[in-house]
Symmetry: C2
Subunit: 529 residues, 2 copies
């Protein structure tokens, strides 16, 4: 029996935060914003949300793999952003998919796309449904919508132990990849916050960012070849370790966000499970001191697996909100050799910038204890807090961008100020904003902003959207990217449109017309038809 | 005064191999193939080659930047492959460009493309002209051809010392980049055999492979953003250290081989000039032993700057042709820290596979002495031998491909056999074939084959083309790529067509129609209109 996901929020229906976790979090929020208690809206039950009747009739030949029941349609109506959960708590789902298909094979995918073409339906590729950018939300303007979930295409098909790679189906969830590799010496190790409920095909379609903070940051760097079913047929690239033959076909698939087709398979690079590890947490007086150290580390050809700079007040328990300290979570790992020389040099660089390493720096298990451990735990649990924030009218969200180092400080200051000012303007009271680096490059960091505040529950959605949109718009206006690893979807479209070259949009439209002549694949995402 | 390039072969008109170099090489060739001497065809003089009269009239407004003199047109008629030099020695240039333009500014490029559109001319972007794949050769079917050389757009415009990057014009030659960075602590360090006579824009358009044998192998990995003039306007991507916003616009430009537009500028990543170096040469009993060591090194997260495996008989002086030994040229370099730990581990891996390190392994200057030094010198001088081989009817050429490790041995054996058999079948006598790795990945190597033989001068071109085409076709038939870093051009088209997904060709055509509606940019390269 497949485990049921929560239709209205992150995670599975049979799991939640513990009462103690919620209590501690409520106390922190109450203290941070001077609140005396919370008005808690109960989560929605499926029968509290009336859905429009399906506008499609499923032909008999497809009935075994297409569902139109209410819970299934509800579950596939929204992603997992705060604005998605907010709308679920409002019991507001005006545009559910009319049907949800669960192909078992690639041939099923072909049949489903043929059916969509035949009835003039919009087809929405659906992996784990963890989108936070309205990437899988049916557009209001569509006449008929069929969402196609790849979740039954969930196998590691082949492991190549010599080249350290595997052929894997697109619909596989993160943990299932590692499960199916358990008896091999290999790991894919592409972890991110949405890891538990997201798929390889989704990662490829959205250019997800993973575990590695340097070097192999995006899924792009793992892909050897891709196989995608488009309305015009199957497109499969050749499996190669490297090629310079024309523009890379895979790079058209990577980031295509479902507008060209459905990724059914890919060959991806693995590596041996790391046996040598060194982890450390390093405290800095300020975020900028830490940033200088991170820049030096990224420019020193050391390539740490982890190199995440966090504000201490966001990452660590018991740090007062007034603290301006930062903590760098640093790790090296490999299956080949002791990494002491690497860590020693990185810690020297940190010390040059005033960093103080935690005493457990040499402990191989440091990544599970100390600051790194505390952070790791928060990172994994964080998405579960979303629904509780929404239930209480607490604004709690994130946005992420990237910027080169030479403009980083000014950019960080401006975006922080815009976020703070916008929360105050929109909600009428002070909010909080913190920043961290999730991935770092020799030429700049990915800045991941987290903000919080108190909403007026009657207009919570409008307030939420205005804050998030204003901040994202500012990041793009100031020269950043609208997304480093969360994808564009429908939410980022206005900002993306300002960022990407207009001629590239035209080129992409030209390419899409060839692969999706009827414009049925996820319309409105990335480009208009 | 700009230094004149040799119109008929590699290099500049005022340089050549020394008499001693030629003598030693002749002796080696004579011994290898049992020859008693050579019939030497003298190189062509410009007035020995009659060119068709230009089919375009240059308007007065463009006369300052467009030339139609014979030598200029001759120089821009062919690339620098053996079949190009052979045709020059045949005094055969049936399809020269009708005019060659030398824009000084991006606005000049726009004006030139407008002019081409107006008169219905084919426009051929031209960087350093070092193509070995007929990438800049005018197609026989074109009515009018204007070649556009970017060589006056040759400046490093801006250096960002914080993010370690530079904004550089597309027409700059390799050495000029390093010259203009001389007063900075930085280097681009994207060296390849064609480095002296190739341009940044050409590297981007052809996805060149450079100095680094691992990690940052292709120019792709250096590019932060690109600026390209297309017939539909200027397309410029945003400068960012990383982004996940849709398919990457830069990745459409990378490898576009002039079919979409002319790359006028790019922001590229630099790094500090290396001050810490460790180099070593390691001998292996066989190429396959060396390959096993290289695979282990690439899978060990060590990331050497150099990791080139060569057959000793190809790389080293005085090694008999019967030798089956291989030599690995290994180097680590950085500006940040001693790299002894890295080299020590790599040498351990080599020893595990029977590798014997040269005694000068710890010498910082080892890359200029010993086996590495000998190889380095051969590598730089090699292109100069081309014309002397052609003059003597000696077959001497290369092709390169890539393959994953698990199929590598079988692939290497098959391609070696096909090459040897084809030379014998076509020329009627035994030839030689060697292989090296120029770039290596955790999942496979780039295999670079060098072959030689003796041609019948009367049908040298036909024999040359048949050998080269048969070998390249075999590489693609056996699952390799038609090119890892030499580009597709017109020469690789039939093989590329078999390799790349047909739907990708359609997508690319769709994109091209948007950027180049008249299909005037380098037609026949990569796709047909």
């Amino acid at each position: 029996m497949r485990r049921q996901k929560k239709f209205y929020a992150w995670g599975y229906a049979d799991e939640d935060l513990s009462a103690d976790e919620i209590k501690a979090w409520e106390a922190e929020i109450a203290q941070r914003f001077g609140l005396n208690g919370f008005d808690v809206t109960p989560p929605p039950k499926p029968d509290e949300i009336a859905l429009r009747a399906p506008r499609v009739a499923v032909p008999e030949s497809l009935q075994a793999i297409v569902r139109t029941d209410q819970l299934t349609r509800l579950e596939h109506s929204y992603g997992k952003a705060g604005f998605d959960t907010t709308r679920m708590f409002m019991r507001s789902v005006p545009n559910p998919p009319d049907a949800v298909a669960f192909p078992e094979t690639e041939q099923d995918v072909v049949r489903l796309l043929d059916w969509c073409a035949e009835i003039g339906a919009t087809a929405i590729p659906y992996g784990g449904g963890s989108s936070v950018v309205k990437g899988i939300e049916p557009p209001a303007t569509a006449d008929k919508v069929v969402t196609i979930s790849t979740r039954h295409m969930d196998k590691v098909l082949e492991v190549d132990p010599i080249s350290e790679a595997a052929r894997i189906q697109g619909g596989i969830y993160g943990p299932a990849i590692e499960d199916q590799l358990r008896d091999s010496p290999f790991t894919m190790r592409h972890y991110m916050q949405a890891y538990r409920c997201s798929t390889l095909g989704g990662w490829i379609a959205t250019r997800s960012g993973g575990h590695y903070a340097t070097l192999y940051t995006h899924i792009d760097d793992f892909v050897e070849s891709t196989r995608m079913v488009t309305p015009a047929g199957v497109m499969e690239s050749r499996r190669l370790p490297g090629s310079g033959a024309g523009p890379s076909p895979d790079r058209l698939v990577l980031g295509s966000e479902g507008i060209l087709g459905i990724v059914t398979e890919a060959w991806v690079r693995l590596r041996k499970k790391p046996t040598y590890r060194a982890s450390a947490s390093v405290r800095f007086k300020s975020f900028y001191d830490g940033a200088d150290a991170v820049r030096a580390i990224t420019q020193a050809n050391l390539y740490p697996a982890n190199c995440r700079l966090l504000e201490a007040r966001e990452a660590l328990p018991g740090v007062p909100w007034s603290s301006t300290e930062a903590v760098l979570v640093l790790a090296f790992e490999t299956a080949d050799h002791p990494v002491g020389a690497w860590m020693a040099r990185a810690l020297e660089i940190c010390a040059d910038h005033g960093g103080m390493a935690d005493p457990n720096a040499d402990d191989d298990n440091a990544h599970r204890s100390g600051a790194a451990g505390a952070w790791r735990n928060r990172f994994i649990r964080a998405p579960h807090y979303g629904e509780h924030a929404v239930a209480r009218g607490i604004l709690s969200s994130t946005f992420e961008t990237a910027m080169t180092w030479e403009r980083f400080r000014d950019f960080h200051q401006k975006i922080t100020r815009v976020t703070r000012d916008t929360i105050e303007r929109v909600t009428g009271r002070e909010g909080t904003v913190t920043c961290r680096f999730t991935h770092v490059y020799p030429d700049g960091p990915c800045l991941y902003f987290t903000f919080a505040g108190v909403l007026d529950k009657r207009i919570a959605l409008e307030q939420f959207m205005e804050v998030l949109s204003t901040c994202t718009a500012a990041a793009v206006e100031q020269g950043g990217t609208t997304t480093h690893h969360h994808a564009v979807g429908r939410f980022h479209r206005p900002f993306y449109d300002k960022q990407r070259p207009e001629l590239f949009a035209r080129a992409l439209r030209g390419a899409k017309r060839e692969l999706d002549p009827k414009g049925m694949m996820n319309p409105g995402v990335l480009i208009d038809p």
